[in-house]
Symmetry: C2
Subunit: 309 residues, 2 copies
């Protein structure tokens, strides 16, 4: 049985990161813990140990323990089935799955699935709680149209229509950048840090222009070879190409949403700042919201809903 009095602990447990939040009885964020103990780096004993550590650290709040993310996948502790879009995010609170990890009862959120415009299935796992959080705190999204963007290894674009998650679309932006940096002829050009500078904006224009991603990316090499691109700006240029291209594709899929209000960016600070700069450069409005805030907000809502049952 989950004890609903007092505070709670919320864990955003992805493939490569473990982020836990201690939330007090009034909903206030009291403490946080971030480690690299993502489920991809742990066996079952490791997952059990990670939960035990949180429970020992925050015993009172850990009476109510919530998780989202890859812990509910086939490579996590146990699989929680996906819910199908369109779906009202409140439904997530009603579909939490209880599992026992090392003697601790944990409520794990379901992922979401939808069909992309290309006909293929798409999936998110973890971001659904962020959706819930951002919809709950944004009146516009409860009654109108909006577009969320969660930049990262797999950037997620999520369409909100009158408080409902209509559909979403995943783009391999971060993964492609990392793969090219790790093992390609571009790797020597991609050693720097991407910044919002002139070469970044040139990359945004190019990636957005429709010349083809694989052709445009070759420009990183060819411009470097002929000395048109300084080595310390190549990362900015390449990053701009990928982000500009991602925004182009998102605009194709969600043309009616991209200017329905500011695009809500949720994720890692530097990457969100680059996406915001790119969106603004292309004439769109964007706001950055820390993922910590919306994650806690989402779990607060889930905690309250389950408490009211």
């Amino acid at each position: 049985m989950v004890v609903m009095s007092g505070g709670f602990v919320a864990i955003d447990w992805g493939s490569s990161n473990f982020r836990a939040y201690r939330v007090g009885a009034s909903g206030e964020l009291l403490d946080r813990l971030a480690t690299a103990e993502g489920v991809a780096n742990l066996d079952r004993d490791g997952m059990a140990r990670a939960v035990d550590e949180v429970v020992s650290r925050w015993p009172t709040e850990a009476n109510a323990l919530f998780c989202c993310g890859m812990i509910g996948s086939t490579v996590g502790w146990a699989e929680v089935p996906y819910l199908t879009c369109p779906i009202h995010p409140d439904e997530i609170a009603r579909q939490m799955t209880s599992m026992t990890i090392a003697g601790n009862v944990v409520q794990v959120s379901p992922g979401l699935t939808c069909r992309s415009t290309n006909g293929f299935p798409d999936v998110i796992r973890g971001e659904e709680v962020l959706c819930l959080g951002v919809v709950r705190r944004t009146e516009r999204l409860q009654s109108g149209l909006g577009l969320l963007c969660m930049p990262g290894t797999h950037t997620k674009w999520i369409a909100i229509r009158n408080g409902v998650v209509g559909s979403f679309s995943t783009s391999l932006v971060g993964e492609l950048y990392e793969a090219l940096s790790a093992s390609s002829l571009l790797k020597n050009h991609l050693k720097g840090v991407a910044r919002d500078e002139e070469e970044f904006r040139l990359g945004v224009n190019s990636g957005h222009s429709g010349g083809g991603l694989m052709r445009t990316l070759f420009g990183v090499r060819s411009r470097s070879v002929v000395k048109e691109l300084a080595d310390d700006a190549a990362a900015s240029f390449a990053s701009g190409i990928l982000i500009g291209n991602d925004i182009r594709d998102a605009m194709n899929v969600y043309s009616e949403l991209i200017d329905a209000g500011p695009v809500v960016l949720i994720g890692e600070t530097n990457l969100c700042a680059l996406y915001r700069a790119a969106l603004q450069h292309l004439g769109h409005d964007a706001v950055v919201t820390p993922s910590e805030d919306v994650c806690v907000e989402g779990f607060r809502f889930i905690h309250d809903m389950i408490g009211r049952r």
Copy 2:
């Protein structure tokens, strides 16, 4: 002084491969040698040794020694400046640069450069001799329009107009596939060999349809996760996406050329077969020409031109 009587030796010396051809006095291919001694794997002593070995192996023909490829780049023996497109490929024969490698006189071909439609410089080095060879042997290309495609790490699409190399465009197809196979969440899905099968053609359609490359590639993962894509067909599906996307981009740039006659595919046999299958699936005609044939043909023409001077 280059001795022009008798046969010659032609070397296609790229970043990762060394391919040498012994050509007799009547232009017949007598022997070939292929090693992994690309310039990226060699220091200057290694390059000198590789040339010495060819000279020792084929002493008579090596009196006339021709090279193309990265040996003429900043990471090769010495840089040969690029020629600017549009250019008649015969001009390559007039612009060969003589250098002495370990006491052996070698004629090295220039690369070509042009401005892509995206405004960035593009470069080829080595493929210009293949262009020359294929134009010399194809009457249609000497008088009309045509499109060459050289699939590989960097796929080159080359526009031929009345015998002139009008422009070209490079696409990171092979590099992207390799990078994703080596270091990404897709790597476990990309262990197989790509084949012209149903999943390949589905990938071609998807990559060609304009849904966005980074989104479509995520389908490899999402379809695998929900068991819509068998593990042994994922390589075919992913390869189809990249090739279909590359053809889409080429059609955008060279719309007036793609059906001017069969696209001439030059390169590695299996990859050319996949490109041909994809082009045919999309309603275009294509023929495969072994790169060995057109390389020897190109150098035969260069040898004759220089001999007539």
